[in-house]
């Protein structure tokens, strides 16, 4: 019987991509954020819904590995991310976590192609031109590869930012408010792009938004309420 149990546990651990427990973050300003427990399986899609001030960004930053929670444990693919040394964590983040920010934050000094190759370089991967070309064509930005990113339209920028996030075939794809500034049609397009890219790389997709239109498209949802965050 014991063998079966451990087998199940093993199976469960293999299935789990993200596990956040008892987490809590306190900013230097004194603001405290209580975070929900999360468990997301490999390849699963999760929507984090909440108004601004509900701690969405804090949660996303912790999941992205760029903000150490004051308390709690965070496992990603079995790795305790915040127990790694900083440079190890940098490397893990570069190789396994793709993030799409609301403001995109593309590097305007570089062309589209250079932005994508920067993602390969910073993650410590060898330059791979064919992959850049393939992903650009999947995201329909092939004709813009040599354009500087500040010359792109908003929609094109968003696709470049998605391309950059999936460049290294991440295990976890995070998107912060990807649809909030878009109309219904565009919003639908971006969601399906995110879903298809996550499916291609087998990544777990987590989207954080206050955009209620997105709600129906996801079975897995976590709703944060403003009480999560309190001024102390």
């Amino acid at each position: 019987m014991g063998g079966v149990f451990s087998l199940c546990r093993e199976k469960l651990r293999e299935m789990t991509m993200i596990q956040l427990r008892d987490s809590h973050h306190r900013y230097n300003s004194g603001t405290e954020v209580n975070l929900p427990d999360l468990q997301v399986d490999k390849g699963e899609h999760l929507l984090i819904l909440g108004l601004s001030g509900s701690g969405k960004s804090t949660l996303l930053h912790i999941l992205a590995g760029i903000l150490r929670p004051t308390k709690g444990s965070y496992l990603i693919d079995g790795t305790d991310l915040y127990s790694l040394s900083e440079s190890r964590r940098d490397q893990f983040r570069g190789r396994h976590i793709g993030v799409i920010f609301q403001q995109m934050h593309l590097i305007n000094s570089l062309t589209v192609k250079e932005n994508l190759k920067l993602a390969q370089y910073m993650a410590g991967h060898k330059p791979d031109d064919s992959k850049v070309i393939r992903i650009c064509s999947e995201l329909d930005i092939s004709d813009k590869v040599d354009t500087y990113t500040d010359e792109l339209s908003q929609g094109q920028k968003q696709r470049v930012s998605i391309a950059r996030a999936v460049m290294n075939d991440p295990l976890l794809l995070l998107a912060d408010e990807p649809t909030s500034s878009l109309d219904d049609i565009r919003s639908g397009e971006v969601l399906s792009l995110l879903k298809s890219q996550a499916k291609r790389t087998g990544a777990t997709l987590i989207i954080s938004t206050h955009d209620q239109r997105v709600k129906d498209q996801f079975l897995n949802r976590v709703e944060l309420d403003a009480q999560n965050q309190e001024e102390v």
């Binding site: 760029i66 900083e86 490397q91 920010f101 403001q103 934050h105 250079e114 920067l118």
Partner: protein
């Protein structure tokens, strides 16, 4: 993509700013380079042209002036001395050789020097074309004079009185070029040489039409002046080499105390001159350092400002997996690239400016100022420039190093 390409992309994106920083930095480096070349060439020329001359005897006056006029041919002579008096010194037991010089005329600014073959020997000058002077009014041209003025053997020229171009000319005195010297890399390249008699002849003709019983110019060695009887004739100075070094202690005192002439030692006067010039060179060096400091401040401010503009870029690079050290190096590399480019450009500009000074200014030509002169110290200058650039990017690089990713990205 690598760090060099990445840093270069940022420099390229604000090309105007980068160019201004590089230019400003290069001006400081160029000034330092000019100073370096100038001190080298000045000292080199001062000592090389005075080689084999222990003391110069001429009319009383400023010793520096005597040295400058008789060895470097830049200042006016202190006056004339009588040949009869000079002869006493030529016969002096402490004197190994005494070469007479008669100055006072020029051709297009090139000085005509009346002297003897020993003068040519001092600079190891040999005739490339034609012969030495054998008669009055025959000239031998230094290599630069012939090349710059396009003169050939057989040409006649008209000399002018004094030492600069445009003075009153001795009309139709018909000086004939009989020879051209090999280049020597010394002052001899920029002189027109002839016998002492030619100088006497030029002025006799213009002053009084008295027919002196000059020899016909064959007497062209130091010895021959001892034999001749021109006691009333004057020369400008004597370039003297001692029999032995002990003479240095006694001979100048003898000349200064016992005769109406003065003796000036080039070694002493050149050192004095360099000390005087040293003050000027130090102030230029100070000026160059101020220039460099200003440009370093420029690089520092430009980088610091660009750090503010780039805080999101830096945070994104960290998110993409870049380590703190990588970002630090990325910024340092930018400072290094600007200063390396500025340093290289500055050294090139320094050489171009030096060559320009040599070509444009007659006084500089007399010192053979050239841009085609390279020294190992220039590598040191370049390395220092690089070091300064890295130093100036240290604080901006530390800011990049300390980028707080989450905090930066939550501010929008």
């Amino acid at each position: 993509m690598n760090l060099i390409k990445l840093s270069f992309s940022y420099l390229r994106r604000r090309a105007l700013n980068t160019l201004l920083n590089i230019l400003l930095f290069s001006f400081g480096i160029a000034t330092i380079t000019i100073l370096l070349l100038f001190s080298y060439q000045l000292e080199d020329n001062l000592y090389k042209n005075a080689e084999g001359i222990d003391v110069v005897v001429g009319a009383k006056g400023s010793p520096i002036q005597l040295i400058l006029s008789s060895i470097y041919h830049i200042d006016n002579p202190t006056g004339n001395i009588k040949l009869s008096e000079a002869k006493q010194l030529m016969n002096h037991p402490m004197v190994a050789s005494a070469t007479p010089l008669a100055l006072g005329d020029n051709y297009l600014g090139y000085r005509i020097v009346g002297s003897t073959t020993e003068y040519l020997d001092k600079y190891s000058a040999t005739v490339r074309e034609g012969t030495l002077w054998n008669h009055e009014f025959e000239l031998v041209l230094g290599a630069d004079v012939a090349r710059n003025e396009g003169l050939q053997v057989g040409d006649t020229i008209v000399s002018g009185h004094g030492f600069s171009e445009g003075g009153s000319s001795h009309d139709d005195n018909g000086l004939i070029v009989v020879g051209i010297l090999e280049p020597t890399g010394t002052i001899a390249d920029r002189l027109i040489l002839t016998g002492v008699e030619t100088m006497w002849g030029i002025h006799m003709e213009s002053e009084e039409e008295e027919d002196h019983d000059h020899t016909d110019g064959r007497s062209i060695t130091n010895e021959s002046y001892l034999a001749t009887e021109f006691d009333q004739e004057q020369i400008t100075s004597l370039l003297i080499r001692y029999q032995n070094p002990l003479a240095a202690a006694q001979f100048p005192r003898f000349v200064n105390d016992q005769t109406s002439m003065q003796a000036a030692a080039p070694a002493v006067e050149v050192t004095r001159l360099l000390t005087l010039l040293g003050v000027g060179l130090s102030s230029i060096r100070f000026f160059a350092l101020v220039l460099i400091l200003a440009s370093v401040l420029g690089i520092f401010i430009a980088l610091l400002n660009s750090m503010k503009e780039r805080k999101y870029d830096l945070a994104i690079m960290r998110t993409l997996g870049g380590s703190r050290l990588k970002l630090f190096n990325h910024v340092i590399l930018e400072g290094a690239m600007i200063s390396l480019a500025g340093g290289l450009l500055g050294i090139v500009l320094g050489h171009i400016a030096m060559e320009g000074i040599g070509v444009l200014f007659a006084e500089a030509q007399q010192f053979a100022v050239t841009g085609y002169d390279f020294h190992s110290e220039e590598v040191v200058i370049l390395l220092l420039a690089l070091g300064i650039g890295i130093l100036s990017s240290l604080v901006p690089a530390l800011l990049a190093y300390k980028t707080d990713i989450a905090e930066t990205l939550s501010k929008t």
